[in-house]
């Protein structure tokens, strides 16, 4: 049973779906991605990976498949989080989704699924946190961060080794330039962004008292391509005060500021919701979803000069937030 979207599935109803394997064949909008709106294209498609299995299970499906969510077709199944649905679920490469859809349009298709993933017991793991103590207000924090975990098909270079490297490099740059900020710069490599966010949840639990003293939180979790600027969730007045920082970022083309209504960055979402000014680097996403959550997310995909631009962007913004006279207004 091949459907394009949730509406088509719903229209089929329980009688037609029950006992069938459902393939969500939503086609990633490559034109949108190539035009610079890759994350919007991803948002439209990834809903089927996330919520598809549950929607199929609710109508009695035997299993759910999703066309891989990505902008390049190299016969790679893309992995990623799905909400538990109680039925087998998997991704197929775009080419195979197209083939199944073609065959299904001709008549009945029988498939035998062999899915090998296992849910293993939880194991102890950690957020990795380092503080560069502030000279005047060590009790106030600016967080610079990426996440440490990744999907196991590749090595997680773009998602999100790059973000961790950029956050670490922010502290390294300030050290090398002998810049000691007034507030504490806290570098965090978050654990478990990919499968539920238990790392950031633990941080929220253990450090919620610090949220009020956290003057800004930055995450980089969209690869290592050229930084275009920052997506921000903060007051309009706070955004306005960043103008002089954008002047500096403009020198290497990273001066866009995009206010968002949702928290930018999964790991800083709880802080953002509590009122902490939150920022996420917006990378050029045109090739990000070529590799995202695939076996091809490996170090060779990172262009060193662009990684350095990201470190520079986070360092400029992080230092500004840590050193400005007054904290950004909430």
């Amino acid at each position: 049973m091949v459907v394009k979207d949730f509406d088509e599935l719903k229209a089929l109803g329980h009688d037609k779906v029950a006992g069938k394997i459902v393939l969500f064949n939503e086609i990633f909008d490559k034109q949108k991605a190539a035009g610079g709106m890759a994350f919007a294209a991803y948002g439209e498609s990834v809903r089927y990976r996330g919520a598809g299995p549950k929607a199929a299970a609710d109508l009695g499906a035997a299993a759910a498949l999703v066309r891989s969510v990505g902008s390049a077709d190299f016969r790679l199944p893309h992995t990623g989080f799905s909400f538990p649905a109680g039925i087998p679920a998997g991704a197929v490469a775009a080419e195979d989704a197209a083939l199944i859809a073609h065959l299904a349009a001709e008549g009945k298709v029988r498939m035998h699924l062999t899915l090998t993933p296992q849910k293993l017991p939880d194991a102890i793991s950690y957020n990795v946190i380092a503080d560069l103590k502030g000279s005047e207000h060590p009790e106030q924090f600016v967080i610079v961060s990426g996440h440490l975990d990744s999907w196991d098909l590749g090595t997680g270079a773009i998602d999100d080794g790059a973000g961790v490297a950029v956050a670490m490099e922010t502290a390294e740059i300030l050290q090398r330039l002998h810049l000691r900020p007034k507030r504490t710069l806290r570098v965090i490599a978050w654990m478990d962004e990919e499968s539920g966010g238990s790392g950031s949840q633990a941080y929220s639990k253990d450090y919620s008292a610090d949220f009020i003293h956290t003057v800004g939180a930055i995450e980089s979790d969209s690869g290592a391509a050229h930084p275009l600027g920052f997506a921000v969730k903060m007051s309009a007045r706070a955004s306005e005060l960043l103008r002089p920082v954008l002047e500096i970022l403009q020198s290497f083309g990273a001066s866009a500021l995009l206010p968002t209504s949702y928290p930018p960055g999964a790991d800083i979402a709880a802080m953002a919701e509590s009122g902490v000014p939150a920022l996420s680097i917006m990378q050029d996403g045109r090739t990000y979803f070529h590799y995202h959550h695939t076996a091809a997310d490996t170090l060779d995909k990172i262009v060193p000069s662009e990684l350095r631009e990201n470190a520079a962007a986070m360092a400029v913004m992080g230092y500004a937030l840590a050193n400005m006279k007054d904290p950004l207004p909430r």
Copy 2:
């Protein structure tokens, strides 16, 4: 043991190579390919897939690996022909070759190879041949062709389903336009181009008496991207006589004529060597080696409008050769 090229292997010598797994880590020249010289880049790299195992075996190597020969890095091992070497041999994805090279530079690397290919007994198969009989000289032939076999990782859409489609479409176009050429148009879908050429060898054996009556042989075996023109092995005088045909091809940008010293097209090589004017469509190769000999060589990689251009190019050239007053001079 990681080597860049044959010279480096030779310099190491038997003592250092014996008992080792050799990785040929020759890096495909993507810049050359992107600049329009993809087949030249392929020629430089594919030598290691072809002759690497034998060269390693000659120095006592236990096994040989080759960095996959391709212009896009999506963690795909590329397959293809290697000369028998008597040792296990395989391809690794570019990313994995880079990792092995990195680790080998740090110290000793141990690998356990599990290679699953089998050489099965030969089975009967056939070239597929269809003649559109000439109206005046049915005993004279123009051959239009592609090859029927492909590597089994993908479905062989660009290598060389496209060539077969284009050759068949040539006859179809002439029929539809009610053009009955003077000479016989012979459509051939060659068997076994990929692993030795037994199909074209059988044709040479069975039809060598026809070679003298074959006024031209065309093959398409470089994908389905926009045709730039033809690579030709023929006399300078014969090339000169094609000028009016190039005028027509120029209308859709397919008018390049590149004389070569080697036979253009593996399946028409024997004919070319015997003096038959031989032509091969030169496709734009910028993306061909992204997919060539991989699991991603599937129908979705073919742009229908470009496939049609190829059919038009072969039809124009095939009809011209079949209908010109005198055969091209040899």
